[in-house]
Every structure is written in structure tokens, then in C-alpha cells.
Amino acid sequence: MALTHHDERTTDVSRQHAELAELAEPAEPAQPPTAGLASQSAIDREIERIQADEAASGLTRTQSRLDFAPYRSSLLRHPTKDLHHADPEGVELVAPVFGERDVDPLEADLTIQHDGEPIGERIRISGRIVDGDGRPVRRQLVEIWQANAAGRYIHKRDQHPAPIDPNFTGVGRTLTDDLGRYSFVTIKPGPYPWGNHRNAWRPAHVHFSLFGTEFTQRMITQMYFPSDPLFALDPILQSVTDPAARDRLVARYDHDRSEHEWLLGYTWDIVLTGSHATRMEQEGDDV
């Protein structure tokens, strides 16, 4: 269920946090006891071995590996059989339509959803979304979610003992414009600990949910901030085994997008997979 229906997000913080308390489930520790957990150096060695094997194979992946044991939760959750080739049919060749009925322009600013301002570095994250042929993804839905500046999510299963920010929910939505551009104002999220291995910390990141012009382009990913010292230690980022491919998940600091005495700008462009529409249909678009 949605903890905060987005129409109600701008008001009634106390009720939101009462709901949060009500939803908190006892008797389920957020993180397992550290006994039996691998050390960071053991995880590092596993990552190195897999990446060295891939580099030696000459087969450079551009996507995350589904089978990536250093990320322990993937062990029982990745398919073991080959994906089956399918030519997209019918409904798969188009995408759901979202529009002004679905998204309020105010949802693109995560710093104005409550009575007060959230604590943290105010930033703008903006960029362009194109498909594999370089065509802009126009008028399409982009959704983001993230931790607050202290590394805490508004989520019942996040038990990290860092403060909740009563002025920050960490959820945004927008529609791309006719050039495929998007823009969010938010605060920079903090890194946070998790239970994958002993002393495991996720680098600061923002989750992005993206639609294309056809359903086959649907994707969810994570955007990272430049030069984070946690990159090499993080099994989720390192599941993208090729360094050049990992770089595609890292935004760049963009001083031209920073605003005088107001916020810092980050630029992150996103490429979806190529579409399958016929060239005839594509010729009307500027490439």
C-alpha cells in the first residue's frame, strides 16, 4: 500500500508518522545478527573473482548480472534458465500513457511536500531520457524515491537508527518534456547500512523508475553521485561488472545547473533499450 497517497503528501505530517508507527512490524529485525555474515574483504574477493572471469571471457555485459552471489538476496531470486526469445507483440509495442491527470507538476520538487524544509544539501537532478536509437522519450512518467540526508527511508522495514526528517518523504514524480528532459529538486541522500554482509553500506543513490515508448523498455535503476568511496565495496553497483557500464549509473556534477545561493546541479542522462517499431513509424521523429 502507499504509505502517503500523493495528494495528501503536502499536509498532515503527524498523521503520516502515526501511520508509520502503526505499520512498524515487531519481531522482525531489520538486519540479521552479524554472526555468520561475510566480511567486506570476503565480499570484495568474490566481486573481484567474478569481474576477472568476465574480463577474461571477452564478453562485456552492459547490464547488471542477475546471478551475482556477492549480493546475497539474489541467490534464490535469479532465474537459472535462459531467458526465452520473444518478438514483441500487440500491447508490448506501445506503452501506457500518463499525463496531467496522473502527475501534478509540484511532485517534481521533493523539498516542498511538507510545512518545513527538509535538512540536507539542496540539489537538482536533471537530464534527458532517450531510447537506444537516440530518440527522446517524450511525455513519459519518471518516478524517484530515496533516503533522507541521514540515510533513512520513510519505510516500515527501514530500522536504521538515523533520524526521520519530518519534512522529507523522498518520493517524486514527473513527466518528461517534448525533448525527453526531466528535472527534480530534492536533497542529497545519505549512505546507509544494510544487512548483506558485516559493515555493509550502500553508496548514496536515488531510485529511478522509467517507461519508454513501448513496454519492452520498462526499467528501474539507481543513480549514484560522483566519486563515492563506497562504490567499490557495493555488491549492487558492482553487479554491473564492466567499469564503463557502471559509469553510466553515476551522475556528474554540473556547475552550469547549480543556482546562485540556492542549489547544486547534477546531470544524469538515461538511455533505454531500442524500440521495435518499424522504421516507417520512426521516420517522423528527429533522431
Binding site: 520473444a86 509495442l93 500513457v97 500518463f98 537506444g132 513496454f215 528501474i220 542522462d269
Partner: protein, 205 residues
């Protein structure tokens, strides 16, 4: 675009195709999406009680057979006449516009449920299906599959895609008609009876 997406591909990169941009990698949805992505009415493509409404439900399980409490499913389908729908309003249902899109998170036991209309075939000779995307904590990228309707066995037997799937795995793509009329479709991420997941052309996975 930034330099990160250069249009080059060396011969040692069989996943990349010269002349096209390299897609941004997908990543796991993680455990904390519940307050961001599911929305009120996401699972109700039509209000319950609508003529022709059917419950489409099942369980998402891992390789040990345990239900996933943190999987997100999206469905996308034609209308009963077999036409793709291109209408706004999926995020704010108005109670009568069928948009063809639904989103729901699994519950603690891994169970999910949509209320929708049964799609018609999108072309002659094709069996009708609902397109599905699966996201989950522990799943490092999305997976695609299809839910085929079970009733027209001649259409299922003749469908070119289903015929391309080994016969012993084909049943994982077909919903079961329950005695109460609902459609049951379980999704098994791993194991002997693992669901058939799809790879579309031009995609690494």
C-alpha cells in the same frame, strides 16, 4: 547526451550493436519502494463488480518456494477487443476508464491480486495475453513474462510464440481458471518449474 553513451562498440562486445546507444543498466528495485510506487487503486484496472471483471492473482516465489513479500508486478494489456489502450488516468482511477495498466506489490506471503478485464487477441492466430514486468528486492533487473488466458486451447496450441517454448515449460505461461472463475498465475523466479521469462530483440536481458 553525455560521453558515457558513446556510439561505439568493439568487436569483443557482442551485446552492444554498432550505431546504437548503449542502454543504462537496470538495478534492483530494493526493499524500500512501497511508499513510492504502489498507489491507491493500482491493482484495480476496473472496479470489482464491473461486468466482465476477473480477478487475476497468484504468488511470487523464490528458488526455495518461499513467497516474496517485496516484489512489485506491473501488467499491461489490450482491452477485450484486442486493442491496446492509450488513455491517461492509471494513477488516478476515475472508476470507468480502462487504461490497461496495473501495478501491485505482493503481500507478506507473496500473494498478489489484480481486478481487470480479459484481453482479446491482438491479431488473428495469436492467443490473448497480459504482459507482465516483475521487480523485486534481490532481483537485479526487471523480468518480462506473459500471462496467457487458458480457455481457448486451440488458440494456445496454434500460437507461434508458445510453440517456440519447449512443451514442458509452456504451462508456466498459462493462467489456470479457478472454480470461482478467477485466473491464477504463479510466478517462480527460480527452480525446476521456473517461469519462462522473456528476452526481446536488441536486449541483453
Amino acid at each position: 547526451m553525455s560521453d558515457q553513451h558513446t556510439r561505439t562498440a568493439t568487436p569483443t562486445r557482442p551485446y552492444a550493436v554498432p550505431g546504437v546507444l548503449v542502454p543504462t543498466p537496470g538495478q534492483t528495485i530494493g526493499p524500500f519502494y512501497h511508499y513510492a510506487l504502489p498507489y491507491e487503486g493500482g491493482e484495480l484496472l476496473v472496479p470489482p463488480g464491473t461486468p466482465g471483471a476477473v480477478q487475476l492473482h497468484g504468488t511470487v516465489t523464490d528458488g526455495a518456494g518461499a513467497g516474496l513479500q517485496d516484489a512489485l508486478l506491473e501488467i499491461w494489456q489490450c482491452d477485450p477487443a484486442g486493442r491496446p489502450v492509450q488513455r491517461q488516468g492509471s494513477m488516478h482511477r476515475d472508476g470507468h476508464t480502462f487504461t490497461g495498466f496495473g501495478r501491485v506489490s505482493t503481500r507478506r506471503d507473496g500473494h498478489y491480486s489484480f481486478t481487470t478485464l480479459e484481453p482479446g487477441p491482438s491479431a488473428p492466430g495469436r492467443a490473448p495475453f497480459v504482459a507482465v514486468t516483475v521487480f523485486a528486492r534481490g532481483l537485479l533487473n526487471r523480468l518480462f513474462t506473459r500471462i496467457y488466458l487458458p480457455d481457448d486451447t486451440d488458440a494456445l496450441a496454434a500460437d507461434p510464440f508458445l510453440r517456440s517454448v519447449p512443451e514442458d515449460r509452456r504451462p508456466t505461461l498459462v493462467a489456470a481458471r479457478e472454480p470461482d472463475g478467477s485466473l491464477r498465475f504463479d510466478i517462480r523466479l527460480q527452480g525446476d518449474d521456473e517461469t519462462v521469462f522473456l528476452r526481446f530483440p536488441r536486449q541483453e536481458l
